[in-house]
Protein backbone atom coordinates (compact mmCIF):
# COMPACT_ATOMS: atom_id res chain seq x y z
CA UNK A 1 0.00 0.00 0.00
CA UNK A 2 1.10 3.57 -0.63
CA UNK A 3 2.52 5.46 2.35
CA UNK A 4 1.07 8.78 3.51
CA UNK A 5 3.99 10.48 1.81
CA UNK A 6 3.20 8.78 -1.51
CA UNK A 7 -0.49 9.64 -1.23
CA UNK A 8 0.37 13.28 -0.57
CA UNK A 9 3.08 13.46 -3.25
CA UNK A 10 0.83 14.52 -6.10
CA UNK A 11 -0.85 17.25 -4.07
CA UNK A 12 2.26 18.93 -2.62
CA UNK A 13 2.16 21.78 -5.11
CA UNK A 14 -1.53 22.23 -4.48
CA UNK A 15 -0.97 22.48 -0.71
CA UNK A 16 1.73 25.10 -1.20
CA UNK A 17 -0.58 27.11 -3.45
CA UNK A 18 -3.32 26.77 -0.84
CA UNK A 19 -1.10 28.03 1.98
CA UNK A 20 0.05 31.01 -0.09
CA UNK A 21 -3.49 31.82 -1.30
CA UNK A 22 -4.88 31.86 2.24
CA UNK A 23 -1.98 33.39 4.11
CA UNK A 24 -0.57 35.80 1.55
CA UNK A 25 3.05 36.13 0.49
CA UNK A 26 5.41 33.94 2.47
CA UNK A 27 8.89 32.38 2.40
CA UNK A 28 10.08 28.79 2.46
CA UNK A 29 10.58 28.24 6.16
CA UNK A 30 7.22 29.80 7.03
CA UNK A 31 5.39 27.77 4.37
CA UNK A 32 6.81 24.52 5.75
CA UNK A 33 5.91 25.55 9.29
CA UNK A 34 2.32 26.31 8.30
CA UNK A 35 1.87 23.08 6.34
CA UNK A 36 3.34 21.01 9.19
CA UNK A 37 1.12 22.84 11.68
CA UNK A 38 -2.01 22.10 9.68
CA UNK A 39 -0.93 18.51 9.01
CA UNK A 40 -0.83 17.88 12.78
CA UNK A 41 1.75 15.14 12.51
CA UNK A 42 0.11 13.34 9.57
CA UNK A 43 2.80 14.66 7.26
CA UNK A 44 6.29 15.81 8.19
CA UNK A 45 8.13 17.29 5.25
CA UNK A 46 11.81 16.95 4.61
CA UNK A 47 12.01 20.69 4.43
CA UNK A 48 14.51 20.93 1.61
CA UNK A 49 12.13 19.14 -0.74
CA UNK A 50 9.82 22.16 -0.61
CA UNK A 51 12.20 24.26 -2.68
CA UNK A 52 12.12 22.27 -5.92
CA UNK A 53 8.30 22.43 -5.64
CA UNK A 54 8.37 26.21 -5.15
CA UNK A 55 10.78 26.71 -8.05
CA UNK A 56 8.64 24.52 -10.30
CA UNK A 57 5.52 26.53 -9.41
CA UNK A 58 7.48 29.70 -10.15
CA UNK A 59 8.57 28.38 -13.55
CA UNK A 60 4.96 27.44 -14.34
CA UNK A 61 3.91 31.00 -13.49
CA UNK A 62 1.68 29.86 -10.63
CA UNK A 63 3.64 31.82 -8.03
CA UNK A 64 5.77 34.93 -8.24
CA UNK A 65 8.91 35.41 -6.16
CA UNK A 66 10.75 38.48 -4.93
CA UNK A 67 13.61 39.11 -2.52
CA UNK A 68 12.74 41.29 0.48
CA UNK A 69 15.03 42.64 3.15
CA UNK A 70 14.15 41.71 6.73
CA UNK A 71 15.14 43.46 9.96
CA UNK A 72 18.06 41.17 10.66
CA UNK A 73 19.76 42.57 7.57
CA UNK A 74 19.29 39.37 5.61
CA UNK A 75 17.09 38.92 2.59
CA UNK A 76 14.30 36.41 2.14
CA UNK A 77 12.69 35.16 -1.02
CA UNK A 78 8.94 35.66 -0.69
CA UNK A 79 6.47 33.76 -2.83
CA UNK A 80 3.03 34.99 -3.82
CA UNK A 81 0.24 33.28 -5.78
CA UNK A 82 -0.43 34.75 -9.23
CA UNK A 83 -3.85 35.01 -10.91
CA UNK A 84 -2.97 31.94 -12.92
CA UNK A 85 -2.05 30.17 -9.68
CA UNK A 86 -5.42 31.00 -8.14
CA UNK A 87 -7.25 29.67 -11.20
CA UNK A 88 -5.15 26.49 -11.11
CA UNK A 89 -5.78 26.11 -7.39
CA UNK A 90 -9.52 26.38 -7.88
CA UNK A 91 -9.63 23.95 -10.81
CA UNK A 92 -7.22 21.42 -9.33
CA UNK A 93 -8.91 21.74 -5.94
CA UNK A 94 -12.27 20.83 -7.48
CA UNK A 95 -10.72 17.90 -9.26
CA UNK A 96 -8.99 16.73 -6.10
CA UNK A 97 -12.24 17.00 -4.13
CA UNK A 98 -14.06 14.97 -6.80
CA UNK A 99 -11.40 12.22 -6.78
CA UNK A 100 -11.13 12.04 -3.00
CA UNK A 101 -14.93 12.04 -2.75
CA UNK A 102 -15.05 9.11 -5.14
CA UNK A 103 -12.40 7.21 -3.18
CA UNK A 104 -14.22 7.83 0.08
CA UNK A 105 -17.53 6.68 -1.40
CA UNK A 106 -15.97 3.47 -2.71
CA UNK A 107 -14.18 2.78 0.56
CA UNK A 108 -17.38 3.53 2.48
CA UNK A 109 -19.37 1.17 0.24
CA UNK A 110 -16.92 -1.67 0.82
CA UNK A 111 -17.20 -1.16 4.59
CA UNK A 112 -21.00 -1.08 4.57
Amino acid sequence: MASTKELMGASTGLMVLGVLARGGASYGYEIVRRVNEEASGLLVWQEGTLYPVLHKLEKQGLVRAEWRAVESGRERKYYQVTAKGRTTLREEGERFAAVSGLVLRVIGASHA
Binding site: Y27, G28, Y29, Y51, P52, K77
Partner: protein, 334 residues
Protein backbone atom coordinates in the same frame (compact mmCIF):
# COMPACT_ATOMS: atom_id res chain seq x y z
CA UNK B 1 7.60 33.50 12.98
CA UNK B 2 11.18 33.80 14.21
CA UNK B 3 12.39 36.98 15.84
CA UNK B 4 14.06 39.15 13.18
CA UNK B 5 16.30 40.84 15.78
CA UNK B 6 17.94 37.66 16.94
CA UNK B 7 21.64 37.53 17.65
CA UNK B 8 24.10 36.78 14.87
CA UNK B 9 25.13 33.20 14.21
CA UNK B 10 28.65 32.21 15.15
CA UNK B 11 31.11 32.21 12.28
CA UNK B 12 31.55 28.43 12.53
CA UNK B 13 27.80 27.78 12.37
CA UNK B 14 27.35 30.21 9.48
CA UNK B 15 30.19 28.48 7.61
CA UNK B 16 28.64 25.04 8.18
CA UNK B 17 25.28 26.23 6.91
CA UNK B 18 26.98 27.81 3.93
CA UNK B 19 28.83 24.58 3.11
CA UNK B 20 25.66 22.51 3.45
CA UNK B 21 23.80 24.81 1.06
CA UNK B 22 26.61 24.76 -1.47
CA UNK B 23 26.17 21.00 -1.76
CA UNK B 24 22.87 21.72 -3.52
CA UNK B 25 24.69 22.55 -6.75
CA UNK B 26 22.29 23.15 -9.61
CA UNK B 27 24.14 25.11 -12.22
CA UNK B 28 25.82 28.38 -13.06
CA UNK B 29 23.42 31.30 -12.84
CA UNK B 30 21.10 29.54 -10.41
CA UNK B 31 23.41 28.36 -7.63
CA UNK B 32 23.86 31.68 -5.88
CA UNK B 33 20.13 32.43 -5.58
CA UNK B 34 19.42 28.85 -4.47
CA UNK B 35 22.21 29.02 -1.89
CA UNK B 36 20.94 32.31 -0.47
CA UNK B 37 17.41 31.00 -0.22
CA UNK B 38 18.35 27.70 1.44
CA UNK B 39 20.79 29.36 3.83
CA UNK B 40 18.01 31.75 4.82
CA UNK B 41 15.75 28.79 5.51
CA UNK B 42 18.33 27.11 7.71
CA UNK B 43 19.10 30.31 9.58
CA UNK B 44 15.37 30.76 10.31
CA UNK B 45 15.04 27.19 11.50
CA UNK B 46 18.15 27.48 13.63
CA UNK B 47 16.85 30.65 15.28
CA UNK B 48 13.56 28.91 16.00
CA UNK B 49 15.37 26.18 17.91
CA UNK B 50 17.83 28.42 19.68
CA UNK B 51 15.23 30.94 20.84
CA UNK B 52 12.32 28.52 21.38
CA UNK B 53 10.61 27.58 24.60
CA UNK B 54 12.88 24.60 24.95
CA UNK B 55 16.23 26.06 24.13
CA UNK B 56 18.92 23.85 22.73
CA UNK B 57 22.54 24.64 22.10
CA UNK B 58 23.42 26.10 18.73
CA UNK B 59 25.42 23.01 17.86
CA UNK B 60 22.53 20.65 18.66
CA UNK B 61 20.12 22.93 16.84
CA UNK B 62 22.32 22.79 13.77
CA UNK B 63 22.21 19.00 13.84
CA UNK B 64 18.42 19.16 14.02
CA UNK B 65 18.31 21.60 11.14
CA UNK B 66 20.50 19.38 9.00
CA UNK B 67 18.42 16.33 9.90
CA UNK B 68 15.08 18.00 9.16
CA UNK B 69 16.30 19.59 5.97
CA UNK B 70 16.97 16.27 4.25
CA UNK B 71 19.87 15.20 2.05
CA UNK B 72 21.23 18.16 0.07
CA UNK B 73 21.96 15.79 -2.83
CA UNK B 74 18.27 14.79 -2.97
CA UNK B 75 17.23 18.43 -2.89
CA UNK B 76 19.82 19.14 -5.59
CA UNK B 77 18.38 16.34 -7.73
CA UNK B 78 14.92 17.88 -7.40
CA UNK B 79 16.27 21.31 -8.29
CA UNK B 80 18.11 19.94 -11.31
CA UNK B 81 14.87 18.42 -12.58
CA UNK B 82 13.34 21.88 -12.51
CA UNK B 83 16.35 23.87 -13.76
CA UNK B 84 17.15 21.52 -16.63
CA UNK B 85 19.13 24.01 -18.68
CA UNK B 86 21.39 25.09 -15.82
CA UNK B 87 21.93 21.44 -14.85
CA UNK B 88 22.84 20.58 -18.45
CA UNK B 89 25.34 23.44 -18.43
CA UNK B 90 27.00 21.92 -15.36
CA UNK B 91 27.17 18.46 -16.91
CA UNK B 92 28.67 19.91 -20.10
CA UNK B 93 31.24 21.86 -18.05
CA UNK B 94 32.23 18.73 -16.17
CA UNK B 95 32.61 16.85 -19.44
CA UNK B 96 34.72 19.66 -20.91
CA UNK B 97 36.87 19.67 -17.77
CA UNK B 98 37.41 15.91 -17.80
CA UNK B 99 38.14 16.03 -21.53
CA UNK B 100 40.78 18.73 -21.05
CA UNK B 101 42.29 16.78 -18.15
CA UNK B 102 42.36 13.57 -20.23
CA UNK B 103 44.12 15.36 -23.10
CA UNK B 104 46.70 16.98 -20.84
CA UNK B 105 47.53 13.69 -19.10
CA UNK B 106 47.63 11.95 -22.47
CA UNK B 107 50.09 14.61 -23.62
CA UNK B 108 52.23 13.81 -20.61
CA UNK B 109 52.08 10.15 -21.47
CA UNK B 110 53.04 10.79 -25.09
CA UNK B 111 56.07 12.82 -24.11
CA UNK B 112 57.06 10.24 -21.48
CA UNK B 113 56.62 7.49 -24.05
CA UNK B 114 59.03 9.33 -26.30
CA UNK B 115 61.61 9.51 -23.52
CA UNK B 116 61.15 5.83 -22.68
CA UNK B 117 61.22 4.91 -26.36
CA UNK B 118 64.62 6.47 -26.80
CA UNK B 119 65.84 3.94 -24.23
CA UNK B 120 64.21 1.12 -26.22
CA UNK B 121 65.81 2.44 -29.36
CA UNK B 122 69.23 2.14 -27.78
CA UNK B 123 68.83 -1.46 -26.70
CA UNK B 124 70.71 -4.01 -28.72
CA UNK B 125 67.61 -6.16 -28.66
CA UNK B 126 65.66 -3.70 -30.76
CA UNK B 127 68.11 -4.05 -33.61
CA UNK B 128 69.40 -7.59 -33.36
CA UNK B 129 67.61 -9.86 -30.95
CA UNK B 130 64.17 -11.43 -30.66
CA UNK B 131 62.37 -10.21 -27.52
CA UNK B 132 62.79 -13.43 -25.52
CA UNK B 133 66.57 -13.00 -25.74
CA UNK B 134 66.66 -9.51 -24.30
CA UNK B 135 69.60 -9.13 -21.93
CA UNK B 136 68.78 -8.59 -18.27
CA UNK B 137 67.75 -5.02 -17.51
CA UNK B 138 66.78 -4.18 -21.06
CA UNK B 139 63.15 -5.13 -20.39
CA UNK B 140 62.77 -2.04 -18.24
CA UNK B 141 61.90 0.41 -21.05
CA UNK B 142 59.27 -2.00 -22.38
CA UNK B 143 57.75 -2.29 -18.93
CA UNK B 144 57.83 1.52 -18.76
CA UNK B 145 55.80 1.75 -21.96
CA UNK B 146 53.18 -0.54 -20.46
CA UNK B 147 53.05 1.18 -17.08
CA UNK B 148 52.58 4.70 -18.44
CA UNK B 149 48.92 4.28 -19.56
CA UNK B 150 48.02 2.79 -16.19
CA UNK B 151 49.68 5.74 -14.45
CA UNK B 152 47.72 8.17 -16.62
CA UNK B 153 44.37 6.60 -15.73
CA UNK B 154 45.40 6.52 -12.06
CA UNK B 155 46.37 10.19 -12.12
CA UNK B 156 43.13 11.11 -13.85
CA UNK B 157 41.10 9.23 -11.24
CA UNK B 158 43.07 10.91 -8.44
CA UNK B 159 42.53 14.42 -9.78
CA UNK B 160 38.83 13.85 -10.44
CA UNK B 161 38.38 12.39 -6.94
CA UNK B 162 40.07 15.48 -5.54
CA UNK B 163 37.74 17.79 -7.52
CA UNK B 164 34.74 15.77 -6.38
CA UNK B 165 35.79 16.03 -2.72
CA UNK B 166 36.09 19.79 -3.13
CA UNK B 167 32.61 19.99 -4.67
CA UNK B 168 31.17 17.93 -1.82
CA UNK B 169 32.79 20.21 0.72
CA UNK B 170 30.96 23.08 -0.96
CA UNK B 171 34.09 24.57 -2.54
CA UNK B 172 34.05 25.87 -6.08
CA UNK B 173 36.17 24.23 -8.75
CA UNK B 174 37.59 26.16 -11.69
CA UNK B 175 35.30 24.84 -14.40
CA UNK B 176 32.18 25.95 -12.49
CA UNK B 177 33.24 29.59 -12.38
CA UNK B 178 34.97 30.09 -15.70
CA UNK B 179 33.00 31.42 -18.65
CA UNK B 180 31.94 28.91 -21.28
CA UNK B 181 34.44 30.33 -23.73
CA UNK B 182 37.30 29.86 -21.27
CA UNK B 183 36.36 26.24 -20.53
CA UNK B 184 35.98 25.50 -24.25
CA UNK B 185 39.33 27.19 -24.98
CA UNK B 186 41.10 25.06 -22.35
CA UNK B 187 39.58 21.90 -23.84
CA UNK B 188 40.55 22.95 -27.37
CA UNK B 189 44.12 23.89 -26.40
CA UNK B 190 44.49 20.59 -24.52
CA UNK B 191 43.25 18.69 -27.58
CA UNK B 192 45.62 20.45 -29.98
CA UNK B 193 48.58 20.08 -27.61
CA UNK B 194 47.86 16.42 -27.11
CA UNK B 195 47.69 15.78 -30.86
CA UNK B 196 50.94 17.67 -31.21
CA UNK B 197 52.46 15.34 -28.60
CA UNK B 198 51.48 12.38 -30.74
CA UNK B 199 53.36 13.76 -33.72
CA UNK B 200 56.58 13.30 -31.74
CA UNK B 201 55.92 9.78 -30.52
CA UNK B 202 54.23 7.93 -33.32
CA UNK B 203 56.72 8.54 -36.11
CA UNK B 204 59.48 7.35 -33.78
CA UNK B 205 57.53 4.16 -33.07
CA UNK B 206 56.36 3.67 -36.60
CA UNK B 207 59.24 1.61 -37.97
CA UNK B 208 59.23 -0.65 -34.96
CA UNK B 209 55.48 -1.20 -35.18
CA UNK B 210 55.65 -2.01 -38.87
CA UNK B 211 58.49 -4.51 -38.55
CA UNK B 212 57.73 -5.95 -35.13
CA UNK B 213 53.95 -5.65 -34.84
CA UNK B 214 53.69 -8.99 -32.99
CA UNK B 215 55.91 -7.50 -30.29
CA UNK B 216 53.53 -4.57 -30.02
CA UNK B 217 50.38 -6.62 -29.39
CA UNK B 218 50.47 -6.25 -25.63
CA UNK B 219 51.10 -2.55 -25.91
CA UNK B 220 48.21 -2.17 -28.35
CA UNK B 221 45.88 -4.06 -26.05
CA UNK B 222 46.94 -1.84 -23.17
CA UNK B 223 46.04 1.18 -25.27
CA UNK B 224 42.57 -0.20 -25.87
CA UNK B 225 42.20 -1.18 -22.22
CA UNK B 226 43.17 2.34 -21.30
CA UNK B 227 40.48 3.76 -23.60
CA UNK B 228 37.94 1.60 -21.78
CA UNK B 229 39.24 2.53 -18.34
CA UNK B 230 39.21 6.19 -19.33
CA UNK B 231 35.57 5.83 -20.41
CA UNK B 232 34.73 4.24 -17.05
CA UNK B 233 36.49 7.01 -15.15
CA UNK B 234 34.56 9.56 -17.22
CA UNK B 235 31.27 7.88 -16.37
CA UNK B 236 32.19 7.66 -12.71
CA UNK B 237 32.91 11.37 -12.83
CA UNK B 238 29.70 12.31 -14.66
CA UNK B 239 27.30 10.15 -12.69
CA UNK B 240 27.25 9.35 -9.01
CA UNK B 241 25.36 6.15 -9.72
CA UNK B 242 27.27 4.36 -12.45
CA UNK B 243 25.03 1.31 -12.30
CA UNK B 244 22.17 3.17 -13.95
CA UNK B 245 21.36 1.98 -17.45
CA UNK B 246 21.82 5.51 -18.77
CA UNK B 247 25.43 5.56 -17.55
CA UNK B 248 26.17 2.25 -19.20
CA UNK B 249 24.59 3.59 -22.38
CA UNK B 250 27.07 6.44 -22.31
CA UNK B 251 29.96 3.99 -21.81
CA UNK B 252 28.71 1.98 -24.77
CA UNK B 253 28.28 5.18 -26.77
CA UNK B 254 31.78 6.36 -25.99
CA UNK B 255 33.33 3.03 -26.90
CA UNK B 256 31.13 2.85 -29.99
CA UNK B 257 32.28 6.31 -31.04
CA UNK B 258 35.91 5.21 -30.62
CA UNK B 259 35.29 2.11 -32.71
CA UNK B 260 33.55 4.10 -35.40
CA UNK B 261 36.37 6.59 -35.40
CA UNK B 262 38.89 3.80 -35.84
CA UNK B 263 36.85 2.22 -38.62
CA UNK B 264 36.67 5.49 -40.53
CA UNK B 265 40.29 6.46 -39.97
CA UNK B 266 41.57 2.99 -40.80
CA UNK B 267 39.50 2.32 -43.87
CA UNK B 268 42.60 1.81 -45.96
CA UNK B 269 43.59 -1.02 -43.65
CA UNK B 270 40.26 -2.78 -43.74
CA UNK B 271 40.54 -6.50 -44.36
CA UNK B 272 38.31 -8.36 -46.84
CA UNK B 273 35.61 -10.33 -44.92
CA UNK B 274 37.13 -13.72 -45.85
CA UNK B 275 40.28 -12.80 -43.89
CA UNK B 276 38.48 -11.60 -40.78
CA UNK B 277 39.17 -14.81 -38.89
CA UNK B 278 42.60 -15.43 -40.35
CA UNK B 279 45.56 -15.02 -37.96
CA UNK B 280 47.02 -12.41 -40.26
CA UNK B 281 44.06 -10.16 -39.64
CA UNK B 282 44.84 -9.88 -35.97
CA UNK B 283 48.42 -8.87 -36.65
CA UNK B 284 47.19 -6.28 -39.11
CA UNK B 285 44.56 -5.20 -36.63
CA UNK B 286 47.18 -4.47 -33.98
CA UNK B 287 49.13 -2.47 -36.53
CA UNK B 288 45.99 -0.70 -37.59
CA UNK B 289 45.01 0.23 -34.02
CA UNK B 290 48.42 1.71 -33.38
CA UNK B 291 48.55 3.31 -36.79
CA UNK B 292 45.21 4.96 -36.26
CA UNK B 293 46.00 5.76 -32.63
CA UNK B 294 48.49 8.43 -33.59
CA UNK B 295 49.10 11.19 -35.98
CA UNK B 296 50.09 8.91 -38.81
CA UNK B 297 46.70 7.16 -38.83
CA UNK B 298 44.90 10.13 -40.27
CA UNK B 299 45.83 11.69 -43.55
CA UNK B 300 46.74 14.98 -41.92
CA UNK B 301 47.14 16.71 -38.61
CA UNK B 302 43.85 18.53 -39.09
CA UNK B 303 42.09 15.23 -39.70
CA UNK B 304 43.46 13.80 -36.47
CA UNK B 305 42.10 16.75 -34.49
CA UNK B 306 38.79 16.61 -36.35
CA UNK B 307 38.26 12.91 -35.68
CA UNK B 308 39.04 13.28 -31.99
CA UNK B 309 36.61 16.17 -31.81
CA UNK B 310 33.90 14.11 -33.50
CA UNK B 311 34.37 11.39 -30.87
CA UNK B 312 33.85 13.83 -28.06
CA UNK B 313 30.85 15.46 -29.74
CA UNK B 314 29.22 12.06 -30.23
CA UNK B 315 29.81 11.20 -26.57
CA UNK B 316 28.38 14.57 -25.49
CA UNK B 317 25.32 14.15 -27.69
CA UNK B 318 24.67 10.71 -26.26
CA UNK B 319 25.03 12.06 -22.76
CA UNK B 320 22.63 14.88 -23.58
CA UNK B 321 20.04 12.58 -25.14
CA UNK B 322 20.16 9.84 -22.55
CA UNK B 323 20.56 11.73 -19.30
CA UNK B 324 19.69 15.39 -19.65
CA UNK B 325 16.73 15.18 -22.03
CA UNK B 326 15.33 12.22 -20.10
CA UNK B 327 15.62 14.16 -16.85
CA UNK B 328 13.82 17.08 -18.47
CA UNK B 329 11.04 14.79 -19.68
CA UNK B 330 10.71 13.25 -16.23
CA UNK B 331 10.52 16.72 -14.70
CA UNK B 332 7.85 17.75 -17.18
CA UNK B 333 5.70 14.73 -16.38
CA UNK B 334 6.33 14.68 -12.64
Amino acid sequence: MPDERRRELSADTAARIEALCRRVAVGRGVDEAVRRELCGHMADKLAAYVEGREPVSEEDALLLVERHFGEPEAVGEGMRRVHVRAAADTVARRLAAVFALSCLLELGRNLSTYVVWRQVDWTAAYHHLPPMNLPAGQWVPFVGLAVLPVMVVGAMWGILAWWRRRVRRGERVWYADWSWWSVAAVAAIALVEEEWGRTIVVPSLEGWLRNYSHHAAAYAMLDQAMALMTALVWIWWCSSRPVRWSSWSVVAGFVGALAWLGWMAGRDWRMPPELWWAPEWWTRYVEWVLWWGGFAGASSYAWAVAWRTVTVVVALLLWWLVVVVRRGRDAATA
